[in-house]
Symmetry: C2
Subunit: 254 residues, 2 copies
């Protein structure tokens, strides 16, 4: 599919990353199990584990290996680099409480949406998405809000890379529809998700920009039963865009 530049890569590092990925999927495992999973000899894996343990990325609990808590530190560092993270958190907590629903913040990376923060009001629905998860942009209110603020060429590149897979009957699956929708979003200033990703789940989102660059988007999500009529079409959009504005303004002083 997407054939990359293919510079020379380092095989040994690839092996270690494969091990880490495997350990992310299995909670904990022994040498033999890991060696089997990444298709290397036990001796080789043993050396990799020694390196990872030395650097405290992996912990050895009496014979079985698991990922360490080191990643928390990395994650906090990375989050802290989003200049608006603290401002978003505060404002989003208020927003979630005010409307009692689920509020989220996401950013774009590698052409996908990455959920960064999630906060729940009293009646919030439970969704599969959680912090760190990645999702296609075209089927999320968050994603479309961000796409609407990007160059067309960028949107095209992303569609090339990840496609426009269909999740429900309402999912946008053609570029024509997508560009039309993005135009409408630009005019309105906010984006809807009318059960385009998950049947029964509706969202409203507004982008957050700083000097013409998309920093991310925030959204409110709820069940279709509650999200309809003037509440869904007017009130919630107002709340979300208001919060987005507050974030944009506060972000300038931090």
């Amino acid at each position: 599919m997407a054939s990359e530049h293919q510079s020379r890569t380092v095989d040994a590092v690839q092996t270690s990353l494969d091990i880490i990925e495997f350990l992310q999927s299995v909670e904990s495992a022994g040498i033999t199990e890991i060696a089997d999973a990444v298709d290397r000899s036990k001796g080789t894996v043993h050396g990799h584990m020694a390196t990872l343990v030395d650097n405290e990325y992996v912990v050895n609990d009496d014979g079985t290996y698991r990922l360490s808590l080191q990643y928390l530190d990395l994650a906090e560092t990375v989050k802290g680099r989003l200049q608006i993270y603290d401002v978003v958190r505060k404002e989003l907590d208020d927003l979630a409480e005010e409307c009692g629903e689920l509020a989220q913040f996401a950013t774009e990376e590698h052409g996908k949406a990455v959920y960064i923060y999630k906060t729940e009001g009293e009646d919030a629905v439970q969704t599969a998405s959680s912090v760190g998860n990645r999702a296609h942009l075209h089927c999320l209110s968050l994603g479309k809000a961000m796409l609407a603020r990007m160059d067309e060429s960028r949107v095209d590149a992303i569609a090339d890379e990840h496609g426009l897979p269909e999740f429900t009957d309402a999912t946008i699956t053609t570029r024509g529809e997508l560009f039309e929708e993005l135009e409408a979003i630009r005019e309105r200033g906010y984006a809807f998700d009318r059960e385009e990703r998950i049947e029964g789940l509706r969202c409203v989102a507004a982008p957050i920009t700083m000097n013409d660059e998309v920093m991310g988007a925030i959204s409110i999500s709820g069940p279709a039963s509650r999200f309809s009529g003037p509440l869904y079409e007017d009130e919630l959009p107002n709340l979300v865009t208001r919060s987005a504005n507050v974030i944009e303004i506060n972000a300038q002083f931090s």
Copy 2:
């Protein structure tokens, strides 16, 4: 100092980990700067970067490299593995609100305390510690609460590895004092930090155990001006131990 077993390790992986560590400290950097920092040739670093970018652990923004948001996902996975994480969050939020102070949860790893969750009441003090950070156990209420529930041999091993460095006049710096203090904590059921780490900062902590294994500890922190008399000696300890109990009970059904 602590000379490890020294199994055979993988140099190439070590290089990549050095690069990641460097990128954690500098926000973003180019090939030449990185090569300089990790003391490798530009060509070598180039190969490593290609590998890390391929695996999406690093992002290349027009010429400069930075850590990706991938680590959020890893961090959430790792947090999710602490069976009690969700229970702790909920209970700690309540606790922080009830007493208006700073409440924290930490675990032990590699003989150090790792802060996992932090939540602030209305009058909470600001501290340097934040999620993912590691700190010495012997000078924290959180740390001592955990040490008090470990075998003596384990405590000795930890003291061997990390020592008992002094931070303030009140810091415990000898094993004799430490073991005495741990005994007192075992009797009381909770631990104090009487400005042992930071001048003017006091804390109370209680350990969280599940079938005789320490899962971590929770604490309340505040300024010495407020943390004194019966509030500090009785009321806050009661609140903390009550919360710890609630967590232990709820954790059994999750």
